[in-house]
Subunit: 380 residues, 2 copies
């Protein structure tokens, strides 16, 4: 028994049963372990293009006001989001990123043994919360690197799921379904089942990827964030949009004074600067194209992406891709990879600046060669 | 049944049972309701003296880096806190304010019917979390405006409490116990009972108010914050210090990427600037003295305070104090008051600038006169 799995005797049985593993190790921890900083930070799908200059200015300006708690209702931001999405303010709840909102949502709906459906290899932080509240996770496989709405629905029907989690576009593969496909999925949800539609990357996807938001429809809750397209991962601002009855329930459990003041100001400014978001989309598209090229240059296939990252198929199994990933890290390029086969044949590289892409272009062939050498050594 | 108490059918029985009331209404919501901003913001025990200039500079500087997630381990801040408190880094967990840490702690230890002990009228957000996880709250009364360690211990013994919550110095009364008294309380804890020692205001209390931190002692967990003395309420940074087995359990449930990047940088800088904290303590002391004087000028008694607020006894019952509070609000002075009798005979006024104090000095006699007039009218 390691230190971390020792239990304080006062833990609840559920808390005592939880694993001490965490979904992600941060790049900073990896840098501390290897003793040198990464040259390219392309593993967490952050936006290297940053928030808009006006957003940075607004946050700098707000720093002096940090002695005041942020508005616990995130009123101004919710009002602006309501206008932006043409919904009512009471159909939006703001939280500490989608991670924080998933925590609250799972807490509200999942208890011991509650069945929940997701794709094997989809967002592990959702699973972390489901496990954390005692739920039971049922998975279906990806189909050709796409999350599979039909299989998710069928599994939900089979196990009587209360929640289905789907990200569109998908993380970690970058694939996406059309609005029509998602809407059909919503229409075919079993009675009593809520679709948790994680649209963290939707601002970066082709226009029209998101089905129209209909807050009268209590079968779906939409999760959005300022962490990706808006370039504010470190500010921890996400929001959920849905039926007001479900949305209002968040107020029973959320950390009311949990939203930072600088973050609220920043998000409001970021939302107003849609021109910047469009500019980011163009830069992301350019970087995606470059990542496709880099894959081709190395004789590999890239999965076409609707996000700010590209999964590159390393052409062999998960062990091989993990070796490539490790080698990339040693060469100064922080990336991640899918956790589950066969998607774990890929490494997932975030879009970046031209300089970032040049580093990838230089490091990938070396990393592939190192991984191949490791395979050859094992064969001997 | 109002809108807010309608239930989504997918809520867990516990979530469905939770009240929709929240511990505190923010000053911004009150300003929106009355249509004018407050002239003095003295209701949330924020530090009007702000964070240190170096902290503001560091946060302004960090705004451009907000595209990156904050380090999920808050490594640098934890290291600095470990040095500051002479403990090991794995005996500290950083979270989104004490509110966020109380959420995690209660989640880890409280389930349906778990008995918990606190003082009637103590911090309502702790109770919010206990109720939120299905625990059962048992209360004891204050004794002469002090939380009563002996009564808390006796009640914990009687009900088999898993947690006792105590804030020292106390909020909302501002009174405090000596380190020796708190240490005696720790020594007399029933077996299996954890003391949640909320020391949010301890930096503002007389030196030596906090018992020595002994992380080998698993009977107590200490809660600290950058929201009060350090003047960073809007940055949402608190930390808990305790035995490593309990502290490590937070990693099973906390929102790992929940700590903002700008906030982490700010807190680290604030911690380094202890001279600023000392300066704030002096300004707080000056303001406390002024609040005592204002009480005297109005023929009222102030409760001696070890915090950055003063509870002023309005000399009558809770209804009277509530009328004073409302009148103060209408005169532009945001304050709060204790929720429970007989402490609710007081209004609680945060320390402030000389200008803030001048506003209080001017508004309080008017508010008292209005409240007295209301009483006189009712008598007729």
């Amino acid at each position: 028994m390691t230190k971390d799995t020792e239990n304080d005797p006062r833990l609840t049985p559920l808390a005592a049963s939880l694993p001490s593993t965490v979904p992600f190790i941060g790049p900073e921890a990896q840098e501390r372990a290897k003793g040198t900083p990464f040259k390219a930070r392309l593993g967490a799908n952050e936006s290297v293009f940053g928030p808009s200059p006006s957003t940075i200015r607004a946050m700098r300006q707000a720093a002096k006001d940090v002695w005041m708690y942020g508005d616990p209702e995130s009123h101004d931001l919710r009002m602006a989001l309501a206008v932006h999405h043409v919904v009512n303010p009471d159909e939006i709840v703001v939280g500490a990123g989608i991670d924080g909102l998933l925590d609250s949502l799972v807490r509200l709906t999942v208890t011991d043994g509650t069945p929940v459906v997701t794709s094997a290899g989809a967002y592990p932080t959702f699973n972390y919360h489901v496990t954390g509240y005692g739920g039971t996770i049922h998975t279906v496989n990806y189909t050709a690197d796409f999350e599979d709405p039909d299989h998710l629905i069928a599994k939900a029907r089979e196990v009587g799921a209360k929640l289905i989690y789907l990200s569109n576009p998908d993380n970690p593969m970058g694939t996406y379904h059309t609005a029509a496909t998602i809407q059909r999925m919503i229409e075919s949800l079993p009675k009593g089942c809520l679709l948790v539609l994680d649209e963290a990357y939707v601002e970066l996807a082709p226009k029209g990827t998101a089905p129209a938001i209909n807050t009268k429809d209590s079968r779906v809750i939409r999760m959005r964030t300022f962490s990706k397209g808006y370039g504010m991962a470190g500010a921890r601002i996400g929001y959920a949009v849905g039926h007001k009855t479900l949305i209002s329930a968040f107020n029973r459990v959320r950390n009311h004074f949990g939203m930072g003041r600088i973050s609220q100001v920043g998000a409001l400014t970021a939302l107003e600067d849609q021109a910047w978001l469009e500019d980011v989309c163009e830069q992301v598209e350019e970087s995606r194209q470059r990542l496709y090229e880099i894959a081709t240059e190395n004789g590999l296939e890239a999965i076409p992406s609707a996000t700010n990252f590209v999964a590159i198929d390393c052409g062999k199994d998960g062990a091989f891709a993990r070796t490539v990933l490790t080698a990339l890290g040693e060469l100064g390029v922080f990336v991640r990879m899918p956790f589950v086969a066969p998607q774990d044949r890929c490494v997932r590289i975030s879009c970046g600046t031209k300089k970032d892409m040049a580093l990838v272009a230089k490091a990938l062939p070396k990393a592939l060669a190192q991984a191949q050498a490791a395979v050859d050594t094992q064969k001997v």
